[in-house]
């Protein structure tokens, strides 16, 4: 998939608003903890999806460097 399509997809997904709820909105939602955790979660998921093989290879390489033997 080319870069353009990927960017269009991400931008449009970001526009999907939660529907206005006919109910109580928790006044404390979206607080400081959420503001900190959300990017962390997004980074972990993104890394897992896109860099999984790279991370795995890195860990394996580190293991080999530490132990001097293959872990396969």
């Amino acid at each position: 998939m080319n870069q353009f399509l990927r960017r269009v997809l991400l931008c449009t997904l970001a526009l999907l608003l939660p529907t206005a709820a006919h109910a109580y909105i928790d006044p404390n939602a979206g607080g400081m903890l959420f503001q900190l955790l959300a990017p962390v979660f997004a980074a972990v998921v993104g890394a897992w999806l896109f860099l999984r093989r790279w991370i795995t290879e890195l860990i394996k390489a580190g293991w080999r460097w530490l132990t001097g033997r293959s872990n396969s």
Binding site: L5, A21, F50, L51
Partner: protein, 655 residues
């Protein structure tokens, strides 16, 4: 080297097996769907729930996700079986697609929502998009998805998702094991829906029963109950003519959880701390309960409501009730939420609907969107069922029924619709403004139309109530009960605010009807002195002749019911929605009504406003600067109450 997202796995896909499908679906739920749902509300939960409980409840939710995962896996196994007969070459692709594409769509939707909420949070919630943004965005997403599948290929997308989820399965095992361990070490209590059996060989009683009926969101001004010529609630007004009608009844806050907690305990929100819609009462407040005292004195105690926020299952006082029924509604999500209340100490009733928020505001609607899914009659039918069930029980009865109507959505039944607002406007749920919002002065005309539909809803609620009272009277039970009819809070169509909840405390939000009829009472009276919702529990206990609640913020107003004088005292209302129960009192608005004077103190800024309700019932003119002594005196009373509440926090309120 960094892999591209679609270079990981190539088709062919493995044949779908039930176990594989189950663990793949469960991994998506546990590692993506649930965290994406919980993250935006985690701060709100931690305001009133200890962190360990939040972790335990999220773990329970993850364990419960095994059920939908199993259903999805079974469905896909069936699809796989059928496809292998019809189109063997594509069977695996079709079956995995049925499982993974919906999960992918939900995951992307929740992820986009997370991004949007995060952007709003860090930008101070200043982001707004026009109403056209959503259909445009949906069209763009559809186009982008089509392009994605066309360029990359459906099988590769499915294979990529499958590979990513299967590779994360070990993490799912670890998370579920931790969740299971915490659920075992820190178990949640169970409260079934069936009524608790009466005690063996109860004594016959001469004490009257207590019947409390609360209608949700009834503003005093709109109900006009003490006026015999009330246009909106004539049946209740007729009932009030043979009872005591309180013209100035003040609720303790402006939303259900806080106010029903006050009705039950006689405590103000600054003590019971049910100060957010989803919160429970603080642990030390729960035994300080009308139902608890009555139950100890040998009464049967029952709660019936179609609004979970008004249920002891929600407040946390469920052990005090023999019956805690949730009445049927037309909302599809309600049964799921109600099942979650079988574990009433948990936040599952909050978490489960949050997981299905992607269905949107109308997604949970099972019936016609032109009709409200709530019907008062369903609650009254349950009251009839309960009274029939308890007919042979010789213990005195305490029954509290709470109906959501006339609460929004203002979609009254045909019997009263169009009495005030003609047909053609505000006919469907989608036509109505959202609940509990600020509105601009230019929208006042539209809000006035909402008020007309609201008053039609009041009329319908009044008919249902009147019909049930007639049945109750005909049964001969009326004269054996103390009957209380009231509301939890008011409803605003003015001052730039529609609905209830939020920080405001103007009269429309905190004044409602209160009608009390003693057994065999025939002579009616109207009381003009301000009385508080916190007075209800002490009064009922006084009338029942059982020990009083020792730490109540309210007092018995029995004298007023008996036509005797009672020295007036100030009454209080408060909104503390940003106040954590684990932090010192430092935010919120606190109103004190003393005679015709009303002081509103904003705790964060220290600003105090004083209004003369006799001269300025709309609270348009702040006279604090012109009456500094009066302002200072009333302010010191509020600050004294806050200090007392802080001193009592976490300490036992009952012997």
């Amino acid at each position: 080297m960094v892999d591209g997202p679609f270079q990981l796995v190539s088709p062919p896909l493995p044949r779908l097996r039930l176990a594989e499908a189950f663990w793949t679906a469960l991994t998506a739920c546990v590692l993506l769907w649930i965290p994406l749902t919980i993250l935006p509300i985690v701060d709100g939960l931690l305001v009133y729930v200890p962190g360990l409980d939040v972790v335990r409840d999220v773990g329970l939710l993850m364990l419960l996700a095994a059920l939908p995962a199993l259903l999805m896996a079974l469905l896909c196994a069936l699809v796989s079986g059928a496809a292998s007969r019809v189109w063997p070459a594509k069977a695996a692709l079709i079956a995995w697609s049925v499982l993974l594409l919906p999960l992918l769509a939900i995951g992307l939707r929740q992820f986009a929502r997370l991004l949007w909420l995060w952007a709003q949070a860090v930008s101070g919630a200043g982001l707004q998009l026009p109403w056209t943004a959503k259909p445009v965005a949906a069209a763009l997403v559809l186009a982008a998805a089509s392009a994605l599948f066309w360029r990359v290929g459906w099988p590769r997308v499915v294979a990529w998702v499958l590979n990513a989820l299967q590779a994360a399965r070990r993490a799912t095992y670890v998370v579920l094991l931790l969740a299971l361990g915490l659920a075992v070490l820190h178990p949640a209590h169970f409260k079934g829906m069936a009524s608790r059996e009466p005690q063996a060989a109860p004594q016959a009683t001469q004490q009257p029963g207590i019947l409390v009926i609360t209608l949700d969101a009834v503003a005093a001004q709109d109900a006009d109950v003490c006026n015999p010529a009330s246009r909106t609630m004539p049946r209740l007004a007729a009932f009030a003519r043979g009872a005591t009608c309180f013209a100035r009844f003040y609720t303790a806050s402006n939303f259900t959880t806080a106010t029903t907690s006050t009705i039950e305990t006689g405590l103000l929100p600054w003590t019971h701390f049910a100060t957010q819609p989803d919160s429970t009462m603080s642990a030390n407040s729960r035994p300080h309960s009308l139902a608890n005292v009555l139950a100890r004195a040998g009464w049967r105690t029952h709660s019936i409501t179609d609004n979970l926020l008004a249920s002891p299952r929600h407040r946390g006082t469920w052990p005090n009730f023999d019956t805690a029924w949730i009445s049927r509604t037309g909302l599809a999500i309600t049964p799921l939420r109600d099942i979650a209340t079988l574990l009433p100490d948990t936040t599952l009733p909050r978490l489960i609907p949050a997981c299905f928020a992607f269905l949107g505001s109308t997604g949970g609607w099972a019936s016609d969107p032109a009709d409200s899914p709530y019907r008062s009659e369903a609650v009254y039918a349950d009251v009839d069922r309960l009274l029939a069930q308890e007919r042979d029980v010789r213990q005195p009865q305490f029954v509290w029924a709470h109906t959501l109507p006339p609460h929004a959505p203002y979609l009254p039944p045909p019997s009263t619709r169009h009495r005030l607002l003609p047909a053609g406007e505000l006919e469907r749920w989608g036509d109505l403004l959202p609940d509990n919002i600020d509105y601009a002065p230019a929208q006042q005309a539209l809000v006035d139309k909402h008020r007309l539909r609201y008053r039609e809803s009041l009329m319908a609620a009044d008919i249902a109530l009147g019909d049930w009272l007639d049945r109750f009277k005909q049964s001969g039970a009326m004269d054996h009960y103390i009957v209380v009819i009231s509301t939890d809070h008011g409803e605003s169509f003015s001052a730039g605010f529609l609905g209830h909840a939020g920080p405001r405390l103007h009269e429309a939000l905190i004044r409602g009807p209160l009608v009390v009829r003693l057994p065999a009472q025939t002579q009616g009276r109207v009381v003009d002195e301000p009385v508080s919702q916190a007075d209800l529990a002490p009064t009922l206990l006084d009338l029942a002749g059982v020990p009083a609640l020792p730490s109540a913020d309210g007092r018995s107003i029995r004298a007023l019911l008996e036509g005797k004088p009672l020295a007036p005292v100030p009454v209080f209302a408060m909104s503390m929605e940003h106040q954590s129960r684990f932090q010192p009192l430092g935010s919120g608005r606190f109103a004190m009504i003393d005679g015709n004077d009303k002081l509103v103190l904003r705790l964060g800024s220290g600003q105090a406003q004083l209004f003369d309700l006799a001269q300025d019932p709309e609270e348009l003119h702040d006279i604090a600067d012109s009456m500094p002594e009066r302002t200072r005196a009333m302010r010191s009373v509020i600050e004294g109450g806050l200090l007392r509440a802080e001193q009592r926090r976490g300490k036992p309120l009952t012997p």
